[in-house]
Symmetry: C2
Subunit: 344 residues, 2 copies
Amino acid sequence: MTLTLPAGESSSVLASSSGEPPSRSSGRPVTSSHRADITRWMAGLHDELTSFFGRLDRGGTFIEDRWERPGGGGGVARVMTDGVTFEKAGINRSAVMGTLPEAAARRLGGTGATQGSTMFFATGVSLVVHPRSPMVPTVHLNVRYFELTDEQGRVTDRWFGGGTDLTPFYPHEDDPRTFHQALARMCERHHPAFYADFKAWCDRYFVNTHRDNEARGCGGIFFDHLRPDDPTHGRDAEALQAFVSDVARVLRFAYEPIVERRRDEPFGEREREFQLVRRGRYVEFNLVHDRGTTFGLQTNARVESVLMSLPPLAMWQYAPRYAPGSFESRLMAMLAPRDWLSSS
Amino acid sequence: MTLTLPAGESSSVLASSSGEPPSRSSGRPVTSSHRADITRWMAGLHDELTSFFGRLDRGGTFIEDRWERPGGGGGVARVMTDGVTFEKAGINRSAVMGTLPEAAARRLGGTGATQGSTMFFATGVSLVVHPRSPMVPTVHLNVRYFELTDEQGRVTDRWFGGGTDLTPFYPHEDDPRTFHQALARMCERHHPAFYADFKAWCDRYFVNTHRDNEARGCGGIFFDHLRPDDPTHGRDAEALQAFVSDVARVLRFAYEPIVERRRDEPFGEREREFQLVRRGRYVEFNLVHDRGTTFGLQTNARVESVLMSLPPLAMWQYAPRYAPGSFESRLMAMLAPRDWLSSS
């Protein structure tokens, strides 16, 4: 399988040079140029997202750390801690590879050949930004590509994953509405079922089950194991890559308008305190439930990159109670999954 | 097995009325009065610890919540949030019982009969206090008693567990020294190997393995599955209960002197910030590694009690670096396990 990298934003590194989309059962050996292309595509998305948040912040700068993984590969961590709008913004990319024990390959969801050892290649971009103002929601976005190969270097399975979700701290109903509408419009261009399927998946995933199933925020989209030509959605590799690129670029429509209309809204101590308590729930989800985080902690990935998603400051209050009708109660009510596309 | 409850602090509710210490293989049916006695013993330790911290704080008050567990039993949570010395102090007790699936019984460490269903009874007291001043260390203490019974109500296994550990935020070497010396003196009265064995166990347990094995603090003692007449230590039930009572009462010697000498020490923003960052590590340990916490979260225990150990405020900084010789560097160096009983 020879892969080409056409120039420009619409580039696809997964289309074969013959024009025929490679399927996961093709079993042709993967070339090193293919992985270089995929890695370059992710690095491009990483750079775009860094520029986007640098501009959106209006003054802060990112510092960059490059790290190598002993088992193979490495990553680039970019963090802003001097932001005007963002108290902390972290945008990571990584491209790692190595050998997987069979059980680990199965845990990852791989369904390809498991005779002999499985090699994996994974690359992705992940970001979480924590705004200073409780009027501005937190946003998380992640896109990733996984590939499993057998001992002969043949691709036995590969898939895309990713998503983005919004965590507001003040009950502005317009904000999740803007967010979900932009996601729905973007998804619609790729598949009529993507938004509904991935919105529901997101609602199921970002849940603090230990807090009586309290949602982390107002959802968004989440998808995993999205394989070329899968029977459910039937999109080829090139189409999936274009979708994932659009996910990585959706925040200019889904999040930027929210930041612009909230950044100058006044707030007080009580709003800030509630923001810190809600950030505590964010910490709980990431450390207790998030698969990416717990996988990273168990496999001795670079801990500062894995935990870059944690907020700069968080608060735990004992059994807080909120008066009916208070902004806190209204925010809590806003966390129950709902149809954010309906007009009311 | 009939159990008696002699009056006074030296009361033992585990000694049989015949004067013969019951062994875990005795298989005699447990009486309901035995469990009531054990529960009353724990409630007494809970009250003593509440009084102790109320006095040590010099002004704050505990609020109390009583809760019931749907499967059986319940608990009493006491929290101080208006403290003079303590920013948050939580002291819980619980006594819970129910049926365990075989696998869960094995996970708990039970070695008794597993034919048919296993019933469990567990009671304990647990506390964490987070001082306002970074000059004053955080302390945690826990004592617990577990009992497994078969379908006929015969005790098939039972054990004690517990411990206490100190988490300083400023490199006062005298503080862990005071703490460990008091623990060693207390342990010495019960068994010549208790301190050494349980100090080493503590050093192995409170470790953030995902942070390159960074210790949570300066240790203390930790023990679990301490069974009457076990071959290693050979102490009977009454002796073990007396030991556990002493663990619950050791803070007046191990912790109170530290609070008294540190509570008026001046500090600045930098010390406070470092305290908040170290508290972030405390959150990481409790949510990612602590067996009690993760067990509680997975079994839908009352979440506000399980997470009462979390600090009121915590901070995450990206990849902090500390200058050689700074107080932060010296504190980090103090976390490496060492012999705190030696003179230098």
